[in-house]
Amino acid sequence: MVDVIMPQMGESIAEGTITKWYKKVGDKIAKDETLLEISTDKVDSEIPSPSAGLVAELLFPEQKTVDVHTVIARIQTDVHAPSMSEPENVPTRSPNPTPEAVSTVEPSLEPPALRQGISAETNSFFSPLVINIARAEGISLSDLEKIPGSGANNRVTKKDVLDYVERRKSAAPVSHVKPSNAGTPPGGVEVIKMDTMRKAIAEHMVRSVHTSAHVGSVTEADVSKIAAYREKHKAEFERREGFKLTFTPFFVDVVVKAIKEFPLINASVDGDSIILRKDINIGVAVALENGLIVPVVKNAAGKDFAGLARAVNDLSSRARAKKLSPDDVQGGTFTITNPGIFGNLFGFPIINQPQVAILGVGAIKKRPVVIDDAIAIRSMVYISMSYDHRIIDGALGGKFLQRIVQYLENFELGIMN
């Protein structure tokens, strides 16, 4: 009997995936005849049989990833002619090994995060049952920590984790990113542990991409009127209000006006239901030193321009001072972000769940534009919007954007009070 081992296909390769068996148990095989195909991080290869004989055992099913140097098959070499025609003499191990057979050689089936000592990784307590369910459902420890607990001291109960599994099933399938086992790349690395905000952003962004069918549109608007208005009134405004007049409240104002005409933009999706939100609460993304936060201007439709400006200023200054309360960042129904703040023309924002659209405001720059066949210098801005194609089609998204453009270009404010 000759063992076939998972070959090491490169110095940094630690494992390979069996993509196809070319032979079944009991098949005759010649030396150097292809037995299987494997795929690794770097290459796909056909693996020849090390000797002639009968395929006695195939120890792993296709698509199974196996550490290098692991025995993956056995070739029976002392084959007598009669035994080749008598199936009962062929070892009967199935080409798809039983779960027991697999589990003995593959303890790594358990997600590593859950095995590496709960106490070291988390301050939360998870019951044996919750851990067990998480393991069976492929929920990582960091995901487990994000499930809101309904038990004593906010413990995540069996019901909480099962509800989470249900919700996840109803959402789009989450692809499991294969952890890299390629070892330390040459040249040295520095490992930076994500802080809580970074982890939250990472989780939220990935979940959003997996949840919503993102589609985008970009338009441009002539904001010369607004720029002139701001230029004219900013000194007086600052004297009266005690803070600088920025462009943000103008965008919040026009978004609110446009949403009133296109209520489907102010919605969320729950399974196969569309939830229209009656309140218009506009999230305004604020970049921080180590991340990003989105405080929410509540009841934006009930505020006049000065009220919006005050709310935006209050939230963004408290965001930078780290003085926001949890309530300040909840309940948003639409978000405005500002990729232009660093001078960029436009961006492709990711929807802030559970909302269905996010507006990205690019840099406001003076550009030559053609007006009535004459070239004029105008203050122009590119505006992008990502929206959820599950409920917003291009027609609606496009019309909404154009309405924003109209409001921006025809901005009228009598008195700023």
């Binding site: 019951s127 044996p128 049952l129 919750v130 851990i131 067990n132 038990g151 004593a152 413990r155 109960t157 069996k158």
Partner: protein
């Protein structure tokens, strides 16, 4: 189907077995002329005669020794301890002789010991014990503890037909408090099989004897008030334990409360908790909880006795804790 009391179900079972098998006979204190302290054997003497309904001296050691000897020579004795508390006087016969004979001599000892046990009848420290845990620890004995008339009759019959010494714990408070449907004819409840008295999904209660009843009441209340679905498992047999039933219930619900009337420390609940921890650990969503009597002798004063015993309210409080965990 006739509805009869728990005590009548025991009497019926005994009567039918004596009619069925002439090797079955009864012995105990005041069981003949007087009909037994609780009247379980009332009328037996007249019908079966004094050879088969034997009034004995006040000596539990003698009763249990005689029963053991009779079993060894092919009889099927049913010995009554007037109160389960008094079995202590015959402890040596049971644990050193009856329990070990099969292992020493390879001989069957088909005897039954009836133990009227339990508190809640203002009997004080000498007439209220639940002594099952002492014998639970002794290999070679079987222990049954029915909670309903149906199980009482079915288990006394199974106990009499079993080739081993079987301790039959009959709860005094259930005698006339509990009535239920009992078929007229012959049937047995298999020893070693528990019974789900109430099906549920959120919490398992494992109990036996009198505790089954107030656990069921607590389960009903909790379901009605808070929508928590509680399963109540009645062990019926304490040895050998129906491990599969216990574990399957816990695996279903993930939370478990063990309730017995016996005092808590060293009670059977500890063994059940260990069993669950060992074989269903990964199914637990909460710590294993127990409710039992306070670790003191049974108080005589009714108010203290009430305070001492587990009851519906104590079970309800423990269930609420588990539900909220």
């Amino acid at each position: 189907m006739p509805v009869i009391s728990y005590i009548d179900a025991i009497s019926k079972g005994l009567w039918e077995e004596m009619e069925r098998d002439s090797s079955v006979f009864l012995l105990g204190e005041d069981i003949g002329e007087y009909g037994g302290a609780f009247k379980v054997t009332k009328g037996f003497l007249d019908h079966f005669g004094s050879d088969r309904v034997v009034d004995t001296v006040l000596a539990e050691s003698a009763i249990l020794g005689a029963a053991t000897g009779a079993a060894l020579v092919g009889m099927r004795p049913v010995a009554e301890m007037q109160f389960a508390d008094f079995v202590t006087c015959g402890f040596n016969q049971l644990v050193n002789n009856s329990a070990s004979i099969h292992y020493r001599w390879n001989l069957p000892v088909p005897m039954v010991v009836r133990l009227p046990s339990g508190a809640g009848i203002h009997g004080g420290p000498f007439h209220s014990r639940n002594p099952e845990a002492w014998f639970f620890h002794q290999p070679g004995l079987k222990l049954v503890a029915p909670s309903t008339p149906y199980d009482a009759k079915g288990l006394i019959k199974a106990a009499i037909r079993d080739p081993n010494p079987v301790l039959y714990f009959e709860h005094k408070r259930l005698y006339r408090h509990i009535k239920g449907e009992v078929p007229d004819g012959d049937y047995v409840v298999e020893i070693g099989r528990g019974d789900v008295k109430r099906s549920g999904n959120d919490i398992s209660v494992i109990s036996y004897g009198s505790a089954v009843h107030f656990s069921l009441e607590a389960a009903e209340t909790l379901e009605k008030q808070e929508g928590v679905s509680v399963e109540v498992v009645d062990l019926r047999t304490l040895m050998p334990l129906d491990k599969e039933l216990i574990l399957s219930s816990v695996r279903k619900t993930g939370k478990v409360l063990i309730v017995h009337e016996d005092t808590l420390t060293g009670g059977i609940g500890g063994e059940i908790a260990a069993l669950i921890a060992e074989f269903a650990f990964e199914y637990l969503d909460a710590p294993i909880k127990r409710v039992g009597a306070i670790d003191t002798p049974t108080p005589f004063a009714p108010t203290l006795e009430e305070y001492f015993l587990p009851n519906k309210e104590k079970v309800l409080a423990a269930l609420r804790n588990l539900a909220a965990y």
